[in-house]
C-alpha cells in the first residue's frame, strides 16, 4: 500500500535571479517515512527544504504540506503550518546568545502555557534522547559540530512536529557521530512516527536509513526506494549511489592534465 503524501511538490519551478535551480519538479514525500533528497551541489536540495518550510516561494507551482498549499500563504498563516514542522538547519541555527537549555526551552515558552519545572523536565528529556545530558549551561559556540547537530535535532522535535526537515545532518561529522545521528533520526521516524525529510551527501548513511530516495538531476528527478534505485537504468543514479562516476563527471584524477605552474614557487 502506498503511504499518503505528507509533503508534495506540483510542477514547482524555482530560481534565484537569472539562475534556474529546477523546473517543473513534481514529487511526494510519504507520511511516516524517512525520505532523503540527493543531488549535486547547487541542484536545489536545501532549497526544497526551504520551500517546504515556506522560507522561500517558488516561481511557479504548489508545495503542499499536510494538505495546505504553503506557496500562497501570508507569513502569519505560515506560522500555523510551521507548528507542524521541525527543521534542523545545516549549521544548527541555534541562537548563539542563549544557552543550550534556553534554546530548547524557547519554543515551549513561546507556544505553551507550561511552567518552568515542566519545561525543564521536557528539555532534559529531549537532551537525554539525543545523548546530551550535561550541556544545559553551555552556549552553542562551546559545543562541537556533532553536539550542535544533536542539539538542533532536539530543538526541532521540541514541539512534537509531524514532519521533521533536516539539512545535511551528517556533514562534517566523524563516522561515530554520524551513526549516532542516523540512529537518532531513525528513532524519531519509527518510534515517534514523525515524517522525516532530509538532505544529504552521505550516501552510505542514506542507503542505510532511507525508505524513500529522491535524486535531483539537471533534467528532472528520479525517486523510489533504495532497492528500486539500485537497479535504475540511468548511469547518473548509479553514480549517486556509489558506483563509478559517469564519463561527463571526469576521469580519474591521474588522467587530468594539470596546467603548468605560473612560475611562482615558495
Amino acid at each position: 500500500m502506498t503511504a499518503a503524501a505528507h509533503v508534495a511538490f506540483s510542477n514547482v519551478r524555482m530560481g534565484f535571479g537569472a539562475r534556474e535551480v529546477f523546473r517543473s519538479v513534481s514529487c511526494r514525500f510519504p507520511a511516516g517515512r524517512l525520505s532523503v533528497i540527493l543531488g549535486g551541489s547547487g541542484s536545489g536540495k536545501s532549497t526544497m527544504l526551504r520551500l517546504i518550510g515556506g522560507l522561500l516561494q517558488p516561481l511557479e507551482g504548489a508545495v503542499t504540506v499536510d494538505g495546505t498549499d504553503v506557496t500562497a500563504l501570508p507569513e502569519r498563516r505560515l506560522y500555523d503550518v510551521r507548528r507542524k514542522l521541525g527543521m534542523m538547519f545545516q549549521g544548527g541555527a541555534l541562537l548563539d546568545s542563549l544557552t543550550v537549555f534556553d534554546n530548547l526551552a524557547l519554543p515551549l515558552r513561546e507556544h505553551s502555557s507550561l511552567g518552568e519545572p515542566e519545561i525543564a523536565d521536557l528539555v532534559h528529556r529531549r537532551l537525554g534522547a539525543v545523548g546530551l545530558s550535561d550541556v544545559d549551561d553551555l552556549l552553542p559556540g562551546q559545543l562541537s559540530g556533532g553536539m550542535v547537530k544533536r542539539v538542533a535535532v532536539a530543538r526541532a522535535i521540541m514541539m512534537e512536529p509531524v514532519i521533521l526537515l533536516c539539512d545535511e545532518p551528517f556533514s562534517g561529522l566523524d563516522p561515530i557521530s554520524a551513526r549516532r545521528i542516523e540512529r537518532l533520526l531513525v528513532g524519531i521516524n519509527r518510534d515517534l512516527g514523525i515524517t522525516v525529510v532530509l538532505v544529504s551527501h552521505a550516501i552510505a548513511s542514506t542507503l542505510r536509513i532511507a525508505d524513500h530516495v529522491l535524486i535531483l538531476l539537471p533534467d528532472g528527478i528520479v525517486e523510489g526506494s533504495p532497492a528500486d534505485l539500485k537497479d535504475h537504468p540511468d548511469p547518473r543514479v548509479a553514480a549517486f549511489l556509489g558506483e563509478e562516476p559517469p564519463d561527463e563527471a571526469g576521469g580519474p584524477v591521474a588522467d587530468v592534465e594539470m596546467p603548468p605552474a605560473a612560475g611562482t614557487r615558495w
Partner: protein, 258 residues
C-alpha cells in the same frame, strides 16, 4: 548601459523604494511592539546593551565637548567683556544642539552598528530562519525590543551627555578660567527655557532614537547573508544613520524653533 538622466531616475526610484521599505518595516516593528506578549525581559536586556554599555563613552565625550565649548566660548566672550554669559553659551549649545546630535552620532557608531551587526549575523547564520521555523516572528522577538530600547535610551543618554558637558564647561570656565561660579549657574538657569530648549531637546533625542533604531535594525534584518553583507549593513547603518540624524535635526529645529 543607462544614460545620465536614466541613472538619476533609477537612483531616485531606488531611494523611494528604500524609504517605502523602511516605512513598512517601521509599521511591522510598531505592531510587534504593542502586540502581546510584551517582552519586558528582552527590552531590559537591550536597554543594558544599548544604554548602560554606552555610559562611559557618553560621559567622556560629554565632558570633553563641554570643556572645549567652555574654552572656545570664554576666549570669544572675553573679547566683549561678556564672560559672565559663559553658562548660557555652554548650556544653550549643549541642550539645543550638541547634546542630542552628538549623542545620536555616538549611539549610531557604537550601539547602532552593533545592533546591525548582531541582527545581520543572525541572518547570515540562519538564526532568524530558525525562529521562523519555530513559528516565532523575529521582528517580535529580536527586532522590536532593540528598536524600542534605542528610542528609550537616546533621551537618557542625551541628558547625561548634557549634564556631563555642563560639568566640563564649569570645570574649564570656573576652575580654570576664573569665571564666577554663581554667574555661570545664573546665566545658565536664566537662558535655558523648559519648553523651547529642554522639551525640544527631548523631542530631538526621541526622533533620533527612532531613526537610529529603525535604520540599524532594518539594515541588519535585510542584509545579504554573507560576511560582506553584514559588513556592508554595519557600514551603511553608520552612514545612513548619521546623515539622517543631521538632516532631521535641521527640520526639527526649523519646526520646533529651537
Amino acid at each position: 548601459m543607462r544614460g545620465p538622466i536614466q541613472e538619476v531616475g533609477w537612483r531616485s526610484l531606488r531611494v523611494v523604494e528604500a524609504l517605502g521599505a523602511l516605512g513598512a518595516f517601521a509599521l511591522q516593528v510598531g505592531g510587534a511592539t504593542f502586540r502581546p506578549p510584551l517582552r519586558v525581559g528582552h527590552f531590559v536586556t537591550e536597554i543594558y546593551k544599548l544604554g548602560v554599555l554606552s555610559l562611559v563613552v557618553i560621559c567622556v565625550c560629554g565632558l570633553a565637548v563641554g570643556m572645549v565649548l567652555s574654552l572656545q566660548g570664554y576666549n570669544t566672550l572675553v573679547r566683549f567683556g561678556a564672560e559672565e554669559s559663559l553658562g548660557a553659551v555652554v548650556g544653550l549649545s549643549l541642550v539645543r544642539e550638541l547634546g542630542p546630535v552628538l549623542t545620536a552620532l555616538l549611539a549610531t557608531g557604537r550601539a547602532g552598528s552593533a545592533t546591525a551587526a548582531e541582527i545581520g549575523t543572525m541572518v547570515a547564520t540562519e538564526q532568524l530562519d530558525g525562529l521562523r521555523m519555530m513559528s516565532i516572528d523575529p521582528i517580535d522577538l529580536v527586532v522590536a525590543p532593540k528598536a524600542l530600547a534605542m528610542i528609550v535610551v537616546m533621551p537618557l543618554l542625551s541628558a547625561l551627555f548634557i549634564v556631563t558637558g555642563l560639568a566640563g564647561g564649569y570645570l574649564v570656565g570656573v576652575e580654570l578660567m576664573g569665571v564666577d561660579g554663581g554667574n555661570y549657574a545664573t546665566s545658565l538657569q536664566s537662558s535655558v527655557d523648559f519648553y523651547d530648549d529642554i522639551l525640544g531637546s527631548l523631542v530631538k533625542a526621541v526622533v533620533f532614537g527612532m531613526l537610529v533604531g529603525l535604520i540599524a535594525t532594518h539594515r541588519g534584518y535585510t542584509c545579504v547573508p554573507t560576511s560582506a553583507g553584514v559588513s556592508a549593513a554595519t557600514t551603511s547603518t553608520v552612514v545612513v544613520g548619521s546623515v539622517s540624524v543631521l538632516v532631521s535635526d535641521y527640520f526639527i529645529t526649523a519646526l520646533w524653533g529651537v
